[in-house]
């Protein structure tokens, strides 16, 4: 990934897209990884009793799956750093918002029982 464009990288009018094939090896590898993680989740669900740690495992592997889908399938790993950043930075803030509002939800629960 590069930060700056070189002259002639992209021409708005006589645009010819980059059409080089990277082969299917990485794609199949990603598929087996996603399938493996899903089966692992399935197994953990029955092997471990429900707990905060188990939820942490599920969310962690959910994020790992998201990384592979966005990185390999949606090709964001190979796009410009600036593009990747404008996509990823707001979603990181959203994760913060979700975590914050879960705490607020717990506080609501306590208030309702008062």
């Amino acid at each position: 990934m590069e930060f700056y464009n070189k002259p002639g990288d992209y021409d708005a009018i006589n645009y010819i897209p980059h059409t080089e094939s990277h082969g299917t090896k990485e794609l199949w590898k990603t598929f087996w990884l996603l399938l493996g993680i899903t089966l692992f989740d399935f197994m953990i669900y029955f092997v471990m009793p429900a707990s905060g740690f188990r939820n942490f495992i599920f969310i962690f592997f959910g994020l790992v799956k998201a990384y592979f889908i966005v990185g390999a399938f949606m090709h964001l790993k190979h796009e410009k750093m600036t593009l990747a950043l404008i996509i990823l930075v707001p979603t990181i803030f959203i994760c913060g918002l979700i975590i914050g509002l879960l705490y607020e939800g717990s506080a609501l629960e306590v208030m309702k029982s008062m």
């Binding site: 708005a12 009018i13 059409t19 599920f58 090709h75 609501l108 629960e109």
Partner: protein, 256 residues
């Protein structure tokens, strides 16, 4: 054409951010698809924020022990009536969606090689995967509504007795609810399930429509004449996003 060439040449000397070329080195259409997906990510995030807050503020109510355990509700499998099979059907759905994601990305790869025949083949597989997923979701909704799920109420609250009963049953064995196992639970449960999975299902449906349109364009040779298959990439971005949302729906609605 001569006019276009001179216009293009005049961009050569302009700085990157002056509008001559894309600062991100991607085409206009692809960039706009990314921006759209970002906005769609905010839509789904706001739904998940709502779900998370409701769930955390309804852990214990006066009459139930907790927010309904997904294992107690989504434990059906077509043709296996009366058996306790939590998570199995939804894992099959996840598998279908992952598989259709792979066929989509293989269509994109075939497009890079300008292989019209292969693009058409993989687009058909992707469309079939999307339709299979939608059928599964229809069955899931049908079963859930048949069990009594409504937007304005929740009869899936589990008492302490019901919780113990459920967890004494092993995977794959016969299971029936007994009197006193269930009671009223937190009201937003079914509504949030319908809204979030419904929104996702609608995205899958739109994705299938987009894929069908792109498939017809491929078969009719539109991209062949255009010289590149970038439209497949744009449809692919949308399709993978739908898969991405499912990863989180699967995690937060079924696993946790």
């Amino acid at each position: 054409m001569a006019n276009q060439t001179t216009t293009a040449a005049s961009f050569e000397n302009q700085p990157t951010w002056a509008g001559g070329r894309s600062p991100f080195n991607v085409s206009y259409g692809k960039l706009m698809m990314w921006i759209f997906l970002l906005s769609d990510a905010f839509t789904f995030s706001s739904l998940l924020v709502q779900y998370g807050t409701q769930r955390f503020s309804n852990v214990v109510t006066a009459i139930t022990t907790k927010w309904p355990d997904p294992a107690s509700i989504f434990n059906h499998f077509p043709g296996m009536h009366g058996f306790h099979l939590p998570l199995l059907f939804v894992s099959v759905m996840t598998f279908i969606l992952i598989l259709s994601s792979v066929t989509m990305v293989l269509a994109v790869e075939a497009g890079h090689r300008n292989s019209k025949k292969e693009v058409a083949k993989f687009m058909i597989y992707t469309i079939l995967g999307g339709l299979a997923f939608l059928s599964c979701q229809a069955w899931e909704w049908y079963t859930f509504i048949h069990e009594g799920a409504r937007l304005d109420g929740n009869t899936f609250g589990i008492t302490k007795q019901g919780y113990d009963h459920l967890h004494s049953v092993s995977f794959g064995s016969h299971f029936e609810w007994e009197v006193g196992d269930r009671t009223f639970g937190p009201v937003p449960f079914a509504a949030l399930f319908f809204i979030v999975t419904g929104f996702h299902g609608f995205h899958v449906f739109s994705g299938v429509v987009i894929n069908v349109v792109v498939y017809i364009m491929t078969v009719r040779g539109v991209f062949e004449r255009r010289g590149h298959y970038e439209m497949i990439e744009k449809a692919g971005l949308y399709w993978h996003f739908v898969d991405l949302v499912w990863v989180f729906v699967f995690t937060f609605f079924y696993l946790i």
